[in-house]
Symmetry: C2
Subunit: 257 residues, 2 copies
């Protein structure tokens, strides 16, 4: 082999390494999208890897009680980096970002007490995800945090065409007992055993509904983790936060690929 | 660069590739080890990768009600291939391999009804694992299947120096309610939601004991899976069988490395 040929091989290897590094650190494209549900203007957050060509699987994210807080934005971007077009739907209305826990509670109570409204509101978000030209509508899943756990289960219980839903420290009250039979995809529940907002009794009630309806589900239960373990406040929650990220990534890969 | 130098580089690369292939397909060393518990002669199964030098983490396996069936041997070898010295302890006695379910039930009933005997019997197995020259005794865990789930929990509730225990479709009856506080390592429970041998009520009872004792535990619950999902008889069990292998491997890596 001539030196020139060897040099070109070395350059090719270096170029391949650079390309790989580029793929791993791709700049994410982010965009706020305004849309309507009835007379209410909503504004959701779209995030995806602009460097990927062709259609990608889509993930509809249902935010927690804090709405579009920094945590919600960060979680949407984390999921997008797994290789998905993520649309974080807006449940509260454009510009409505509660600052205090009482404000958060007041807001989620509106939707928790009006399930048809909750369903219609999240379905409006699903329509936005579906309409993205880079989303493969045959491969859509959902992820919901906290209040978004309730929203996500209401969503899949409409029979929406989702291949999976992952609940992260979700709340599980007041579902229609018969509605679980409408679920088409798989469900993954990632939950803290010391969650005072959705305690074991509530988790067991939803497990029973899912078993009765023969839903395809998994539950991962983390000891010592309370509600909101994704913002860890003790070593058990640090572990739960790490575990859930692995489990969610694996679940999305299984259902979306 | 001279052709001779380039050739030697190519040979070095080829040799490295061959070595890597060799490591991935290492021949496992297997050995039956006779040992005593009181006047009872036991015979357990040791399996490890002979090509690894130095001390390795150790895994004590507690067999299911079938004793040293083909399934038990296969599971021990599967765990050893993850990079551990595995000793499958003998609970029943050398040469005692039940052939029918009534024989199995008779055998496990002896130990289920005599927990001090169960504990002493499995501790004798732990001593064998500890005494292996290639086992790092600071990094030992246990895995138990079915009846071995009961055995493994009794074992860690003695305060045995294990960094982790994984129960695979284990049974969870009749533990001393206070004993969970003796557990030193982490516990992973891999369980079918439709297990008729250890139904949800039994699982929830052990979860309560673990929560009360602040044990560091995870539960992975698989819908549609009955007892013995590691010998799958429906699509849900095929999924559970695949999921548990990933979860167990990840758990062992976390606690043993």
């Amino acid at each position: 082999m001539k030196p020139a040929r060897l040099t070109s091989l070395v350059f090719a290897a270096a170029a391949a390494a650079l390309l790989q590094a580029g793929a791993a650190q791709a700049a994410m494209k982010t965009q706020w999208i305004d849309y309507k549900h009835g007379n209410t203007t909503l504004s959701g957050y779209l995030v995806y890897d602009d460097a990927v060509s062709g259609k990608q699987p889509g993930v509809l994210m249902a935010h927690d009680r804090s709405g579009f807080s920094e945590g919600t934005i960060a979680d949407a971007e984390m999921i997008a980096k797994l290789g998905y077009v993520v649309f974080a739907a807006d449940m509260f209305g454009k510009g409505v970002v509660p600052k205090t826990v009482p404000e958060m509670t007041d807001l989620i109570t509106i939707y928790n007490n009006d399930r048809p409204l909750m369903r219609a509101r999240i379905l409006a978000g699903l329509d936005v995800l579906k309409s993205q030209p880079n989303v493969d509508t045959a491969r859509m899943a959902s992820v919901g945090y906290c209040f978004g756990g309730t929203v996500g289960i209401e969503l899949i219980e409409t029979g929406a065409p989702l291949v999976g839903f992952a609940s992260v420290h979700g709340s599980f009250r007041n579902f229609s007992p018969e509605a679980a039979k409408n679920i088409k995809g798989r469900v993954l529940i990632l939950h803290g055993a010391e969650d005072p907002v959705a305690p074991m009794e509530e988790l067991n009630a939803v497990i029973k509904q899912f078993r009765d309806a023969k839903v395809n589900f998994d539950v991962n239960l983390y000891s010592g983790a309370t509600h909101g373990f994704t913002h860890p406040s003790n070593p058990s929650e640090v572990r739960a936060d790490a575990e859930y990220k692995v489990a969610m990534a694996r679940f999305l890969k299984e259902v979306l690929h």
